[in-house]
Amino acid sequence: MNTKRFALMLLILPVVTVLCGFSFFKQNTVLVDTSNNHVYEQTSADDILSEFEKDSDAAKDKYKGGYYIISGKIEHISQKGDTIEIVGSSHKDDHIICSCPKNLRTEALAYNEGDGIAVFGKITVDLIDREIHLEADKLSSVPLVNKTGVFYLLDGTNIDKNSMSRRTLNNGTVSYYIPSTWKEVEHSIIGEELGTIEGYQYVLNKLPGNTDTVPESFFVCYFDNDSKLANRDEKEETERIEKAIIKNISDEGDKIKDVTTYYGVKYNYYKSIYKGNRLEYIFQKNGSDGLVMYLYVYTDEKHLSDVLFVTRFLEIVSK
C-alpha cells in the first residue's frame, strides 16, 4: 500500500517539472527557419564534375552535404523514374546520379533523355565508388541564368548574392548581406534613436513599390557582452542573456527550440506577441564575445523569403 502511494506521488513529478518552468508542449514551429528552408546554390553539372576531376577530395569537402541546383543534360532515366543521371555539356563521361523520392517519380518520367533539367537537392558522395549523388527535392525544366552566386529557395524565389549590399557589425567581425532595395528602408537603431543596441531595422512593408500598410520589420543586431552585461562573468550564460535581452525589449518571450543547421550554424529561437505583432527572436552565438540577434516583427510574413536569405548569408569571422 505504502509503495503504491509512493509510486503514485512520484508520477506527479512531471507536473511539478512543468510548474518549475520547463514546458515540453510548446508549438515548435518558427518562420525564419533556415534549417528546413534550404537555400540552394545554383551550379552546373559541368562545374561540379570538373572540380571532382581536378581534385576529388577537395571537391568532396566543398560539396558534400550542401544544397544545390544542378543544371545539366539528362543521360538516362530509370524505368521507375527513381533515378536520373545527368551530365554536363562538356563533361559527358562522368555523371551525377539524382535520386527521386516517390512524389517526384511521375514528373521524372515526363522527361526524355537529352532534355535539359535543373535538379534541386542535397549532394552526397558515395565512399566506395566515389559517385556523386543528389537527393532530389525538386525538378525544374526552367532554364536558369548562367551565373554564379545565384541562390534559390524551393518555392523558386531567388536572389543574386552579387547584387546584395554588404553590412558589417561588431567592428567588421560580423558581415551580412541585404537585397539592395533594403537600403531604402534601412534605419540605424542607435543613429536614429530607436534603441541602444548596435544594428539596423529594415522596414519591409515600406520597400519601394510596396503598398502594404501592415508593419513588417526585420532587425539585424549585435549584442556585445562586454559593453552590455552588468556582470561580465556571466558571458557564458547564453540562454539567460537571451532571456534578459527579450525581457528588455518585449518583456516576454518563450523559447521554442534550438537548432544546429546543415551549414553548421546554431540558432536559438524564441517567440512572443507584442501589441498584436508577432515577434520571432533568433540568436546566433559568437563565442563568449556576444550574440547576433535577428528580430522579425510581423503580422503577415510577406517578405519572409528575403529574410531567410539575409539570415542564411550572415558570416562571423573569428577574431
Binding site: 505504502n2 502511494r5 509512493f6 512520484l10 513529478l13 511539478v16 517539472t17 510548474l19 518549475c20 518552468g21 520547463f22 552579387n162 547584387s163 549590399s165 553590412r167 558589417t168 539592395s180 532595395t181 537600403k183 531604402e184 534601412e186 534605419h187 540605424s188 537603431i189 543613429g191 534613436e193 530607436l194 534603441g195 541602444t196 543596441i197 531595422q201 522596414v203 515600406k206 513599390g209 500598410t213 508593419p215 513588417e216 520589420s217 532587425f219 543586431c221 549584442f223 559593453s227 552590455k228 552585461l229 552588468a230 556582470n231 556571466e234 550564460e237 539567460r240 542573456i241 534578459a244 525581457k247 528588455n248 525589449i249 518585449s250 507584442y274 501589441k275 505583432n277 528580430l295 516583427v297
Partner: protein, 165 residues
C-alpha cells in the same frame, strides 16, 4: 518507512522547485531599451517618421529606379556637356573623394561638403559609389548631396562599386 518515503518525495519536489526558480536573472548594464519596440513599430506604420534625412526625395527613388545587373542605380537629372566627374566612394565608414586627378582617400563629411561646393559646377557629374558602405555613413553622405541638390542644383548618380576588394 512511510515517513521516509514522504520525506524523500518532499526533498525531490523541493529540489525540482529550486532548479526552476533559483536561477538568477542575468542583468544588463542599464535599463535603457535595446530596441524601443513602440517607436520601431510606429516607424513601419503609414505616416510613421521616415527616419531619413530631411528632404530626401522618396518619391523620386520609387520612380527613378533602374536596375542594371548590380544594385540600384538612381539617377537624378540628366547633365549635358560633362566637363568633369566627382566620384565619392564609401567603403565601410571611409569616404574617398576623387575629382579629375585629385584624390583624397579619407575625408570627413564637413570636408566633403566644402570640397563639392568648390569643385562642382553645372557640367560636373557626381557619382556616389557604395563599396560595402556602413549604412549610417552612406546615409550621411546622401544627406549632404541632397542638401546640395536643393542649395546649388547639384545632381548625382548612385552606383554599386564593382571593382573588387
Amino acid at each position: 518507512m512511510k515517513k521516509k518515503h514522504s520525506v524523500l518525495l518532499l526533498i525531490i519536489i523541493a529540489a525540482f522547485m529550486l532548479i526552476g526558480f533559483a536561477k538568477k536573472e542575468v542583468r544588463l548594464l542599464d535599463d535603457n531599451k535595446l530596441i524601443i519596440l513602440d517607436k520601431a513599430i510606429d516607424l513601419a506604420k503609414p505616416g510613421g517618421m521616415s527616419g531619413n534625412s530631411q528632404g530626401e526625395p522618396q518619391g523620386n527613388i520609387a520612380n527613378g529606379k533602374e536596375e542594371s545587373g548590380g544594385g540600384n542605380n538612381i539617377e537624378y537629372g540628366n547633365p549635358d556637356n560633362i566637363t568633369g566627374k566627382i566620384v565619392i566612394r564609401i567603403r565601410g565608414k571611409k569616404i574617398s573623394y576623387t575629382f579629375g586627378d585629385i584624390k583624397n582617400d579619407d575625408i570627413s563629411d564637413t570636408q566633403l561638403e566644402s570640397r563639392i561646393r568648390s569643385d562642382y559646377n553645372a557640367g560636373v557629374q557626381v557619382i556616389l559609389m557604395d563599396d560595402f558602405a556602413e549604412a549610417h555613413a552612406y546615409k550621411a553622405v546622401r544627406e549632404i548631396l541632397n542638401k546640395l541638390k536643393n542649395n546649388v542644383g547639384l545632381t548625382y548618380k548612385e552606383e554599386q562599386y564593382t571593382g573588387g576588394e
